[in-house]
C-alpha cells in the first residue's frame, strides 16, 4: 500500500503528456509494478493494485448502488408484484396505493412492476455496449499508442472521426433500418459509436508509458510484444480502462433510454425510456400523473449518479491533487489560514523562475 501511494504521487507529478493529449487533465497512472520479482504472490498483488481505484468511499458508494440495480434486474421476476403488461381496466390512472405502490398507467398496468422489469434492459444494454466499446477502445487505443508512424496516425485519425461524427443522429438512422431491433443490436450500435473517447485517452497514456524505463527494460530483455502489452502495460492502464468503461455505461444507458423515449426502439421491450414514452404519449406530464413519469426518470438519474461517483473515485485515484487540494485547503482553514493568501504559498527555492512572467509557461510538453 505504501509504495502504491508513493508512485501515485510521482505519477501525477511527471505530467509530461498533459498538454498534448487533450482535455482530460489526468492521464497519469502510477507505474505500480516496476520491479519484476517472480512468483504468484506478486501477480496477486499486481491484480490487487490494478483494482485499487475502487478503494475509496465514492467508488464504493457508487458500486453499491450499481449492485442494487443489478440485483433488481436479476430478480425482476420475483420482485415485481405484477406482470409489467398485465392490463386491469378497473384501475386506470390510479395514484399510488397499497396495492399499486407506484400507481397504474392508462390501461391499469402496475408502474412499479414496469420499472422493476425495465431495469433489466437498461442494465443489459449498458454493460453489453460498454463491453463492446471498451474492447474496441483498448485494442485501437493501445495499438495506436504503442506503434509509431503512419499506423499510429491512421488509427488516431479513425478515432477522431468517430469522435467528431454526431452519434445520436447516426444511431437513429441505423436503428430505423431495422424493423424490430433486438436489444443486442441496440447495444452493439451504441458500443460501436461510443468507443472513441476511451481509445483517445488510452492512446495518450500508452504513448507516455511506451518510453518509461520499465517498458524499455522489458523490450531490451527481449520480451514478446504480447507480454509487454498484457503484463507490463495493461495493469498501468487499468484505472483509465475502468473510467472509460464506466463512462460508456453511462452514455449507453442515456442513449438507450433516449432512443426508447423517441420511439426508435420498439416499445414492446420494457425499459425506463419506454415507460416515459408511454407516459408522455398518454399526457401524463400534462395531467400531473407524477407517479408514472417520476420513478423511471429518477431511476436513470440515480444510476447515473452511481456511475459518476465511481468515476469521481477513479479520477481522484489517478490524479490525487483532486482529492488533496480540498483536504489541504480545509486543513489550512482550521489553522486560520487562507489557501489563496500569497504569503503562505511562498516556497524558498522558487527564486529563479520569477523572471518568467509569460502567461502559459506550464505543461510544456516534451519539446
Amino acid at each position: 500500500m505504501s509504495t502504491k501511494t508513493k508512485t501515485q504521487a510521482t505519477g501525477a507529478r511527471t505530467g509530461a503528456d498533459r498538454g498534448t493529449d487533450g482535455s482530460r487533465p489526468a492521464t497519469n497512472v502510477p507505474a505500480a509494478a516496476v520491479g519484476r520479482e517472480s512468483g504468484g504472490r506478486v501477480f496477486l498483488s499486481k491484480l490487487g493494485s490494478a483494482f485499487a481505484m475502487f478503494r475509496n468511499r465514492k467508488s464504493v458508494a457508487g458500486l453499491a448502488i450499481l449492485a442494487f440495480f443489478v440485483l433488481i434486474a436479476i430478480f425482476a421476476d420475483v420482485l415485481a408484484p405484477f406482470s409489467p403488461t398485465q392490463v386491469d381496466n378497473t384501475a386506470r390512472f390510479q395514484p399510488p396505493s397499497a396495492e399499486h405502490w407506484l400507481g397504474t398507467t392508462h390501461i391499469g398496468e402496475d408502474v412499479l412492476s414496469q420499472v422493476i422489469h425495465g431495469t433489466r434492459g437498461v442494465v443489459v444494454v449498458g454493460f453489453l455496449a460498454a463491453l463492446i466499446a471498451t474492447t474496441i477502445a483498448i485494442t485501437v487505443g493501445v495499438i495506436s499508442g504503442y506503434v509509431s508512424g503512419w499506423k499510429s496516425e491512421g488509427l488516431s485519425a479513425l478515432t477522431n472521426v468517430f469522435l467528431v461524427i454526431p452519434g445520436l443522429p447516426l444511431i437513429i438512422i441505423v436503428a430505423a433500418m431495422f424493423e424490430d431491433p433486438p436489444l443486442w443490436v441496440i447495444a452493439a450500435v451504441l458500443g460501436l459509436i461510443g468507443w472513441a473517447w476511451g481509445a483517445r485517452v488510452l492512446r495518450a497514456q500508452t504513448m507516455s508509458l511506451r518510453n518509461r524505463d520499465f517498458i524499455q527494460a522489458a523490450r531490451a530483455n527481449g520480451e514478446p510484444l504480447r507480454r509487454i502489452i498484457t503484463i507490463e502495460m495493461l495493469p498501468n492502464l487499468m484505472a483509465l480502462i475502468a473510467a472509460s468503461f464506466v463512462g460508456t455505461v453511462t452514455a449507453a444507458i442515456l442513449g438507450l433510454t433516449t432512443l426508447s423515449y423517441i420511439g426508435v426502439i420498439p416499445v414492446t421491450t420494457y425499459n425506463w425510456g419506454t415507460i416515459l414514452n408511454w407516459a408522455s404519449a398518454q399526457g401524463a406530464f400534462q395531467q400531473n400523473q407524477w407517479w408514472w413519469y417520476l420513478p423511471p426518470g429518477l431511476c436513470i438519474a440515480i444510476i447515473g449518479v452511481a456511475l459518476s461517483l465511481i468515476n469521481f473515485g477513479i479520477d481522484e485515484y489517478v490524479n490525487p491533487r483532486l482529492r488533496s487540494a480540498g483536504e489541504r485547503a480545509r486543513a489550512m482553514k482550521k489553522k486560520g489560514l487562507d489557501v489563496n493568501e500569497p504569503v503562505t504559498a511562498v516556497r524558498p527555492e522558487m527564486d529563479g523562475l520569477a523572471a518568467h512572467p509569460t502567461p502559459a509557461p506550464a505543461d510544456k510538453g516534451t519539446e
Binding site: 400531473n288 480540498g326 511562498v346 509569460t358 502567461p359
Partner: protein, 359 residues
C-alpha cells in the same frame, strides 16, 4: 511545411495574424502555425469524406423503399412518375455501386441533395435550410451560455477549493446525469402546464408571421427561454467539473506560487494565470463535444416540438423519407465540422504553443 498552404482558407490566416501580432509584442518570434493548421485541415477533409461515404452507404443499406411508401399514401401517381422519382432518389439499381458513388459525388458538388417526399417534393436543401437557423440559433445560444457559466463557475470553485462552493460540483453533476428529455418534460409540466409562465413548445405562437418586428422576436424569445434554460442546466455540470479539475492541477504549479509571491493581486492570478491555462483543455473538449450537443438538440426539439433540424430528422425517420434523413445527417455533420474548425482557431489563439510549434 509549405505543401499544406493551399488547403487553408483565407479566413483562418486573418484570425491568426491577429493572434500572432499579439504575441510578437511579448518579444516571441511567432509565426502562423502552418503545420498545425495543415494537419487539422487534412483531418477535417478526411472526416468530411468519411461522413459523406457513410451517408452514401446508409442509403444503400436501407431496406424499405421510400417511393413505395409514398405511393401507398398517394394513389394518384402514375407508374412513369414513380420511376422518375426513383431515379431522382438514386434508388434505381441498374448502375454499379462505383458509378452510383461517383454520381452521388457529382450531385453533392452541385448542391443537390435530392427531393423530400415528406415535404411535397420540395428540394431537401430548401427544407433543411428552413429549419437550420432555428437549431443553430437556439442550440448555439444555449451552448455558449452553458460553456461560459460552467467555465467561469468551475474556475471560481477551483480557486475556492475546500470551501462550501465545492458542493456545486455534485449538484451540477447530478443535473447532468438526468436524461435531458425527462428534464425537458418536467420543465414543461412545471413551468408551462402548472405555472403557465412559458408556452408549451413551438418556436413562436400559432398564426404568427415570421418577420423582423418586435412582437415576433419577443415571441421567439419567450418560446426559446425554456429550451435554452433546460439545455444550460443539463450541460453545465460537465464544463464546471472539467474546469474545476484543471484549475486544481494548475493552481499547484510553480508559476502560480511565483505570481503570488510577487504580490500580484489574487484576481489577476486567478483569471490571468490560473484560469488562462486551465481553459485550454476546456476548448478542446468543447470541440469534441459539439457532436454530443447536436445529438442532444434532436431530443430537445422533439420534447419542445421546436421546428429545427432534429425534428426534421425524426419526422423523416418516421416517414422513411431517406433523402431528407441523409440530407439532415450530412448538414449536421458539416455543422459539427465547422464548429470544430472554429474551436481550433480559438485554440490556436489562446495557446501560444500551437503557434510556435514550428520555431
Amino acid at each position: 511545411m509549405t505543401g499544406v498552404q493551399p488547403q487553408l482558407a483565407e479566413l483562418d490566416t486573418d484570425a491568426l495574424e491577429v493572434g500572432t501580432t499579439a504575441t510578437s509584442a511579448d518579444g516571441g518570434r511567432a509565426r502562423v502555425p502552418w503545420r498545425y493548421l495543415g494537419r487539422r485541415a487534412a483531418f477535417y477533409l478526411f472526416t468530411l469524406w468519411a461522413a459523406i461515404t457513410i451517408n452514401f452507404f446508409l442509403r444503400r443499406m436501407m431496406k424499405g423503399d421510400a417511393v413505395s411508401q409514398y405511393l401507398s399514401r398517394n394513389r394518384n401517381v402514375s407508374p412513369e412518375a414513380a420511376d422518375a422519382l426513383r431515379t431522382l432518389l438514386g434508388l434505381d439499381s441498374d448502375k454499379s455501386l462505383l458509378e452510383q458513388y461517383l454520381d452521388y459525388w457529382v450531385l453533392l458538388a452541385q448542391g443537390d441533395l435530392g427531393i423530400s417526399l415528406l415535404h411535397g417534393l420540395r428540394p431537401v436543401t430548401e427544407v433543411v435550410s428552413g429549419a437550420l437557423p432555428w437549431t443553430i440559433g437556439l442550440v448555439g445560444v444555449a451552448t455558449i451560455f452553458s460553456f461560459a457559466i460552467g467555465t467561469v463557475g468551475g474556475a471560481v470553485v477551483g480557486w475556492r477549493r475546500g470551501s462550501r462552493a465545492d458542493a456545486l460540483i455534485p449538484i451540477t453533476t447530478f443535473l447532468s446525469t438526468i436524461p435531458y428529455f425527462w428534464l425537458g418534460l418536467l420543465a414543461i409540466a412545471v413551468f408551462s402546464v402548472n405555472l403557465g409562465w412559458f408556452p408549451i413548445g413551438k418556436a413562436y405562437g400559432v398564426g404568427m408571421r415570421p418577420g423582423w418586428n418586435a412582437e415576433f422576436i419577443g415571441q421567439v424569445l419567450h418560446h426559446g427561454a425554456l429550451p435554452i434554460a433546460t439545455i444550460v442546466v443539463a450541460s453545465l455540470g460537465g464544463w464546471m467539473l472539467g474546469m474545476r479539475n484543471m484549475m486544481l492541477t494548475v493552481l499547484d504549479e510553480d508559476y502560480i506560487t511565483v505570481a503570488q509571491a510577487k504580490g500580484m493581486p489574487n484576481q489577476r492570478v486567478l483569471w490571468g494565470y490560473a484560469a488562462r491555462n486551465a481553459v485550454l483543455p476546456q476548448i478542446q473538449s468543447f470541440a469534441l463535444s459539439i457532436g454530443f450537443i447536436v445529438g442532444g438538440s434532436i431530443v430537445m426539439e422533439m420534447v419542445f416540438s421546436y421546428p429545427g433540424i432534429g425534428k426534421l430528422l425524426l419526422d423523416a425517420t418516421n416517414a422513411k423519407d431517406y433523402a431528407l434523413m441523409q440530407g439532415v445527417f450530412l448538414v449536421i455533420t458539416i455543422s459539427v465540422l465547422v464548429a470544430n474548425i472554429l474551436a481550433d482557431i480559438v485554440y490556436a489563439f489562446l495557446d501560444p504553443r500551437t503557434r510556435q510549434a514550428g520555431v
